[in-house]
Amino acid sequence: MCLAVPGLILTIADSPDPLERAARVSFGGIVKEVSLAYTPEALVGDYVIVHVGFALNTVDPREAHRVFEYLRQMDELAELETSPP
């Protein structure tokens, strides 16, 4: 129940009651209905982390590359250390 993969919001059904706001979300082609009650900021095209039917957060695309940037910085540092003075 805790394994959450990011899903892509395909469509949103808005509702006058914010607790009823829901989306159709694709998980690699498997589409599920997901509540957006806790992610009022989520829009079509966003990726969301979903737990037992509720989107708990949107994935921040600006932060998504950090893990690779960190590697690149480590590589650059290593080059600096090994390059001749």
Binding site: C2, L19, K32, Y38, H51, G53, F54, L56, L71
Partner: protein
């Protein structure tokens, strides 16, 4: 799939592993808290990429695994009552109680239904007003927003036939219990990223400070876990003990405010028993007073029931990082996913189930 495949890139993983080997000068034991991380570590062989001195201890973050025996017995009792529709996440059905499991109640004619979300159970209650519908509300902070919403909606709709059997546990008190235990070997933590999605990570500052352990909020893909370990070892090697966030694409410092608001409205913090560990103060949720009418234990008059853990299952030792699945003589012999002796073999997030699936030889 986007946000998955790129974090499984083999070259980058090997690069992190080499970088780790470069900075590691001493042996370190790091615990990944979440069962989802344990699963990824065993599945992708991340532990086998690490320098010899680094040991990963598998933590208690599997809700199925830590649900105490007496709550399984209570679930079985309620599900066996005539007229009841008992709804549960699928992985709870095979967890052994004192005498049987929920699946055997279903096989004997009980109306036990697997649901994907607690809101499905609310829907079943709405559609079956003459039946008593009970949802088995297990989980950590990740499922609390959904379970809180189910109770909140049921109250709004005055669904008198809906109740929940609450078995909610919280991660930070369990981390503290592990650090405070006399046999503790854990020197640093990878905190569970999705728990922090809900709660943020400010709760970890006092723990890192009090016990002098680095705590790195970490995601679930191989590169996330490797970077989490790298950040943790960097701190350990430099004698630092800070809270760091590896999983910035999903986790913010403050967490999800609307979810926390509803959790605080519907639940209150109480002591909870953990299977194999025992009672931990302030380590779980029970229903708050305004929602007490939705408590299945009170409704079915079983609040006072207790059961003692027994048998040869060593899941308590495994959940605290003292032992690994292969240290158990029953592992793969008398205990397997078809005939589990304990919960760590049942759940997809359980350490024994992960070892059985990926590491049997």
């Amino acid at each position: 799939m986007k946000y998955i495949d790129e974090y499984r890139d083999k070259k980058s993983a090997e690069r992190y592993a080499r970088a780790l080997a470069d900075i590691t000068t001493r042996p370190w034991t790091i615990m990944e808290v979440c069962g989802g991380q344990t699963h990824a570590i065993v599945k992708f062989g991340i532990d086998q990429l690490l320098p010899a001195g680094i040991t990963l201890a598998h933590g208690p973050g599997c809700p199925v695994c830590v649900t105490p025996l007496e709550l399984i017995d209570k679930a079985i009792h309620i599900a066996s009552e005539p007229g009841v529709i008992f709804c549960s996440f699928g992985d709870m059905l095979r967890v052994p109680g004192s005498k049987c499991d929920l699946l055997s109640v279903k096989a004997a004619g009980g109306d036990v239904r697997i649901v994907y979300s607690p809101m499905d159970a609310v829907k079943i209650a709405r559609e079956n007003p003459a039946r008593s519908v009970v949802f088995f509300a297990v989980g950590f902070e990740t499922t609390a927003p959904a379970n809180a919403m189910a109770v909140f909606q049921a109250e709004r709709e005055k669904l008198g036939n809906f109740s929940i059997l609450v078995s909610h546990v919280l991660v930070p008190p369990a981390m503290e219990a592990i650090l405070a235990s006399p046999g503790n070997r854990v020197q640093g933590f990878l905190a569970a990223g999705h728990v922090c999605t809900v709660m943020g990570y400010t709760e970890y500052y006092p723990i890192a400070e009090k016990y002098g352990v680095p705590i790195v909020v970490t995601g679930f893909e191989p590169l996330d876990i490797l970077q989490g370990i790298y950040l943790c070892v960097t701190q350990l090697e430099h004698g630092r003990a800070c809270v760091e966030n590896q999983y910035t694409r999903v986790v913010s410092r403050e967490g999800n405010a609307p979810a926390q608001d509803l959790i605080r409205k519907v639940f209150r913090v109480i002591p909870r028993k953990w299977r194999g560990i025992g009672e931990i103060p302030r380590s779980g949720f029970g229903l708050a007073a305004p929602y007490a009418a939705f408590d299945a234990e009170a409704r079915f008059g079983i609040t006072g029931y207790t059961a003692e853990e027994s048998g040869e299952c060593i899941s308590g030792q495994i959940l605290q990082g003292h032992k690994k699945p292969r240290d158990c003589p029953a592992f793969g012999v008398r205990c397997n996913p078809e005939h589990p002796l304990g919960a760590t073999m049942v759940s997809t997030e359980g350490a024994c189930a992960a070892y059985y699936r990926y590491r049997r030889e």
